[in-house]
Symmetry: C2
Subunit: 113 residues, 2 copies
């Protein structure tokens, strides 16, 4: 089991800002997963997390849609726009928690952040 | 209200590895906070998150202890050591969610990541 976060690398975000967006996606995924068997198994396994790079908003939307079509839990993060980005900027998505192979079928060839 | 993550910058972690540690701390904080008034308020406010730098494990432990003494929720992340770090390495902490001024009293002069 794992939770994968997809982070856009084409935005002018500091390392800390990007980490906060990834954290936001992870918290959304955790709150959505509460009470499900996949979430419980993932927690027991120590909450494995991987962060992958996506090149732009279109790629992020395409992958999120593919995950949704495959029945995977998807959480999207739009930045509130208080600091470094315009309000509503799509920055990050979480896919899972779910079995590795189901996520890999969607995100397989993306590089690690 | 905010949730603050403190991330060590003295470890050899990639940007993605660090984001995953920060996300881990945020998920632990969210799961610990479930059902509390502070957590509910923080969610309503859009889950504000800030990531700050700490220089080493001693500084991280000292700040976490100070937060605990001040009655703040503290979550510590020790890496499982599967990839870039030795097992059990303390990488990150979350303080909150709590009122800004209560967290600032502990973390006030730390720089943004």
């Amino acid at each position: 089991m794992k939770l994968v976060m997809l982070a856009r690398t084409d935005l002018a975000m500091s390392r800390g800002k990007m980490a906060a967006q990834v954290a936001h996606a992870a918290v959304l995924a955790a709150l959505s997963g509460l009470g499900t068997a996949d979430f419980a198994t993932w927690l027991e396994q120590g909450q494995p997390k991987v962060v992958l790079k996506v090149g732009d908003a279109n790629e992020l939307r395409r992958l999120a849609e593919a995950g949704k079509q495959a029945g995977l839990p998807i959480s999207l993060v739009e930045d509130a726009g208080r600091t470094q980005l315009p309000p509503g900027t799509l920055t990050c998505a979480a896919i899972g928690p779910a079995e590795d192979r189901r996520i890999d079928a969607i995100t397989g060839d993306l590089p690690l952040l």
